[in-house]
Symmetry: C2
């Protein structure tokens, strides 16, 4: 299928151009366009940095702004930004209190962010937080879980905490605690088409659904028959509840995230199903986020994320945020 | 292709359920679920009401809240709400200063909203504003233009004006003036699939693009070869500039709207192209809106809308808004 681009080689740069132009009131390019940063930094606040491959927009560039990230790096499609890009982001975002790098748990991202942290360590206080919220692979150890849409929640919560003046070590601890209480699972009805190929990276027959999907075009953990929205919601909730296990307490934040080609009407329908089924299991959903925030190009599908928050964390969620993709006060 | 629903007959109601549950802090169902309304009305403010078929979410329900609409009615897929629904919305939203009905210019919507206005006229001051911003059909008289994504801008601007206490007659005049300076054109790379059919309402060959598309599954004004993003942006700008003609002054607000299945990365890329081409024509884009706001189910495509605003209207755009889909302060 066609898409709104010209050449695969220029797509990422042109999309970034349009993004920065649209939101020039709050953000700007770093030197040599190596990253996107807040227009105005807050001296003495810990700098929050994230990044990843292109094709996940608005993640992470859409979360740069007051109450969330200070800078974000974008690589090529589904490829980590380079250590050089990340070091530039650190240089831009460190106003004296150090930087926290929020990294989705994927090999390429982890390698490059850790390398950048090492390169910058002589001049900057750096901590690296890995987020692994994808609980679809029931055989994976928690430390092997991939970072997917739940990363958005971590960035919002830590962003609000950083605005209060929380120091680097405390932000890292908070992030590590949060990451154990955020559970995501994704499903797809059609795979992502990478610009070079112009066809889905995996093919589903009519009536099939890919379960436990990542966000880099790779197939999921299993392929199942699509039995409708409610059955899908029930299956997703079973995975989430099993993973949450004994930690099932706290205020529920339910996040339904579209992967790029699933319209709001379907996301809201699924939100209603998942919310009801979680409620039957005793989980009260106190906060909701529904929309297209962590995409996989034009994949048709969605993920459900449950975060179990303390009262203090819920207050961080409610705190003001002003970014391109999340904005409230 | 599959979609996240169970039965076509229940899809709209289930999606509305999920929507209202997700945003219960700011809105609620009207009696018998005939419409969605603000949880708290402002006594003495003119009530702003819109509505239309389902399948366009988040339009219009996503724009109910402070600074925008007081109530919104949703019909069946691509079908107008009934006069009975609209009368209920009027009863709910009229707090003493009357109601303005903001109606996209489509026969079914116009008929039902005007019938509702007549039914309610004995007990309420009512004015009806028709919005026709689709300039793709160069043979259509301005009064015959269809109402498409530009309606979102009208709802935001009038919503802000209503919050300042502007009376009904002045809101109608402002809306009529605005509607002559808002120009939209849409293109599609794949048609919408209505739930009953599960296939696109029109078929495009690879390499084809539908130009001048509406939002109800109908084909557009012409079918062209898709020549890439930049050529598409240029063609869209030519239409917009021709329609704007002599009224080409004021502050430009550029709105790139996704129709449901087009991801943010592509919307931003097109924003960049359209913005640059308008700039070459002397139009400075002072405000931007990029996202999926007025959809046609899962259609792959987008529209570009240029609004030419006075300084006072730009201030209305900047004014605080708190709805499910648009939120700033």
């Amino acid at each position: 299928m066609n898409r709104f681009m010209d050449r695969a080689e220029t797509m990422v740069a042109e999309s970034l151009d349009g993004f920065v132009a649209a939101h020039a009131d709050l953000l700007m390019f770093c030197p040599e366009r190596k990253c996107v940063r807040r227009r105005v930094m807050t001296p003495g606040k810990v700098g929050l940095i994230s990044g990843g491959g292109a094709g996940h927009e608005p993640m992470h560039i859409g979360f740069v702004g007051t109450g969330m990230l200070d800078a974000a790096c974008t690589g090529h499609i589904f490829s980590s930004p380079t250590p050089d890009q990340i070091v530039t982001a650190i240089t831009q975002a460190d106003t004296g209190a150090g930087c926290l790098l929020i990294v989705k748990n994927y090999d390429g991202d982890v390698m490059n962010f850790e390398m950048a942290a090492e390169m910058a360590a002589a001049d900057h206080d750096i901590a690296v937080l890995l987020v692994g919220d994808d609980i679809s692979d029931t055989h994976a150890k928690p430390s092997d879980r991939r970072g997917v849409a739940g990363t958005v929640l971590v960035e919002k919560l830590l962003g609000a905490a950083a605005e209060t003046g929380m120091p680097l070590s405390a932000l890292l601890s908070l992030g590590q605690a949060l990451a154990t209480r955020i559970f995501s699972i994704g499903v797809a009805l059609r795979g992502a088409s990478v610009p070079e190929l112009r066809r889905p990276t995996f093919a589903l027959s009519p009536g099939e659904m890919e379960v436990g999907i990542g966000i880099h075009g790779e197939p999921g953990c299993s392929r199942q028959r699509f039995e409708g929205a409610e059955a899908t919601a029930r299956m997703m909730c079973e995975h989430i509840l099993a993973a949450a296990g004994s930690s099932l307490s706290g205020q529920g934040l339910l996040f339904i995230n579209g992967f790029g080609a699933t319209p709001p009407s379907e996301l809201y329908l699924m939100h209603g199903h998942v919310r009801r089924i979680l409620g039957e299991a005793g989980i009260s959903v106190e906060r909701s986020l529904v929309g297209t925030f962590a995409t996989s190009l034009d994949m048709a599908g969605l993920s459900a994320t449950l975060a179990l928050l303390t009262d203090a964390e819920q207050a961080l969620w409610d705190a003001a945020v002003h970014t391109a993709a999340l904005r409230w006060s």
